[in-house]
Amino acid sequence: MALANLPDRQSLYVLQDGERGLEIIEDSRIPSAATFRVFKQDHTLANLLRSQLLLDESVIFAGYKVPHPLEPYFLLKVQTNGTVAPSRALKNACIAVIATVTNLEKRFEEQFRDKEFDLGGAEVQQQPFYSDAYADF
């Protein structure tokens, strides 16, 4: 039904049956290093985790790559100074991201409440969609 040579686009971001989201490959030659293979995720998550890992003092190296644009996974390489395991460092980074997100949610809620209060609560609900785009229709 679909074009024969066109992969299903959902396969770029939905895990297949039996597919696991994360694969941990311990590095056998470098101490306290591991590569994480995260499936069906892209730069959105990869760069977020990489930049968060680099803020961790016990992390010596963190970098990611998407080896091929048609293959929907990325590799995240992490090396720590040995005080924590790489998977623990990654977990800490994720927890830090969750904390930031939770904090921002709270800040946004406050700001939304203030803004809606300024505009007079109910009016915000009634406020029409912005329609300048159609001005010379």
Binding site: E19, L22, N103, L104, F112, V124, P128, F129
Partner: protein
């Protein structure tokens, strides 16, 4: 933890805010999530009963797909068709919209617009696994074109112009999706993103003919930051920490909802990684149905002790080239490359 936000402008479909105290990776991830990962509803399947307009079927189908539909709380109030237990579409995973319009007025043309899309009830033939709780979370306007929403004050979207005797009769099925599949599912028309308006960090270099300052006017966001001194030395350790966003939506979701859903989505992604680290694959039966984002059935354990995932990359070749070795030396399996390395037709 000390991240803050300042909303500078808030409208239903627009939110302009400044984010502080986060790093560039987070800020960019947030922007990408708002653009591509927030589910909305859009027409995805169009059945033509009659089309005697001058526009071909596929042209009209494409135009219909791009029409924004009200998708309030879409991530909870609708199922993806791929996850629904129904056989061929039900009220939980699809919305039917119809156009039945014929121009009978002589001497003039008539326009079919997004306001002619009439919503029709879908059958409630949910499969065994569905409870129908999604329906209770819907707003009364869920699924109607944004131009028919009571809050909308603009003009509807023109679909086709008909002369006398021409007719368009179609059944459209709207599904839930995200913009990674097709941009029509993006709730955002634009996400403006800027940091470092004075280019103090030198993340960019300006090309100019004669006068850099005259040819590159400052952005309005520059008012938020201190101008650098003329002889200010370059700070090698500086990191961007203020990000200026301008989120505009097409009306399918409010800008507020886009922002909050994007944060929730980022959290669930990070939580999935935490879950996967805490629950390494074992050969024992283990209940992982509590996974925060998606259900992840257990992978098989390979003989060498590594955890192989049954499907990496594209999986099996659709045109049956068998082993799926791909082009030698490229290191990745392409579905349309034969074992000999030539291109299969």
């Amino acid at each position: 933890m000390n991240s803050t936000v300042t909303i500078r402008e808030l409208k239903r479909d627009k939110c302009n805010f400044v984010l502080r105290g986060v790093n560039l990776g987070f800020a960019n991830s947030f922007r990408r999530t708002m653009m591509a990962d927030i589910p909305t509803v859009a027409i995805d399947l169009v059945e033509f009963e009659s089309n005697t307009t001058v526009l071909p079927d596929e042209f009209i189908a494409h135009r219909l797909g791009m029409i924004p539909l009200v998708s309030t709380n879409c991530d909870e109030s609708m199922k993806y068709t791929r996850e629904c237990d129904c056989v061929e579409g039900c009220s939980l995973c699809m919305i039917e919209l119809r156009i039945d319009f014929r121009c009978d007025r002589p001497g003039t043309t008539m326009n079919i617009t997004s306001n002619h899309l009439e919503i029709r009830p879908m059958p409630d033939n949910w499969g065994p696994g569905n409870t129908g709780e999604e329906l209770a979370k819907r707003t009364p306007e869920f699924g109607i074109p944004v131009s028919k929403s009571k809050d909308f004050s603009g003009f509807p979207i023109l679909i086709a112009s008909l002369r006398k005797g021409q007719e368009l009769k179609v059944r459209c099925y709207a599904k839930k999706g995200i913009a990674k599949d097709h941009a029509k599912w993006s709730p955002c028309t634009a996400v403006g993103f800027e940091y470092d308006p004075y280019n103090k960090l030198r993340h960019t270099s300006y090309w100019f003919e004669t006068d850099k300052a005259a040819e590159w006017p400052l952005s309005p966001n520059a008012a938020e930051e201190d101008a650098p001194l003329d002889d200010e030395p370059f700070d090698y350790d500086a990191e961007p920490d203020r990000f200026y966003y301008n989120v505009e939506t097409d009306g399918s979701l409010t800008a507020k909802e886009v922002v909050l859903k994007a944060l929730a989505d980022m959290r669930s992604r990070a939580a999935t990684i935490v879950f996967n680290i805490d629950n390494p694959p074992t050969s024992d039966a283990m209940d992982i149905s509590e996974a925060p984002m998606a259900q992840m059935p257990l992978p098989t354990r390979a003989a060498n002790g590594s955890y192989a995932s049954p499907s990496t990359g594209w999986g099996t070749s659709p045109n049956g080239s068998g082993s799926g070795t791909g082009g030698q030396g490229t290191g990745w399996a392409s579905p349309n490359v034969t074992a000999a390395g030539g291109w299969a037709v």
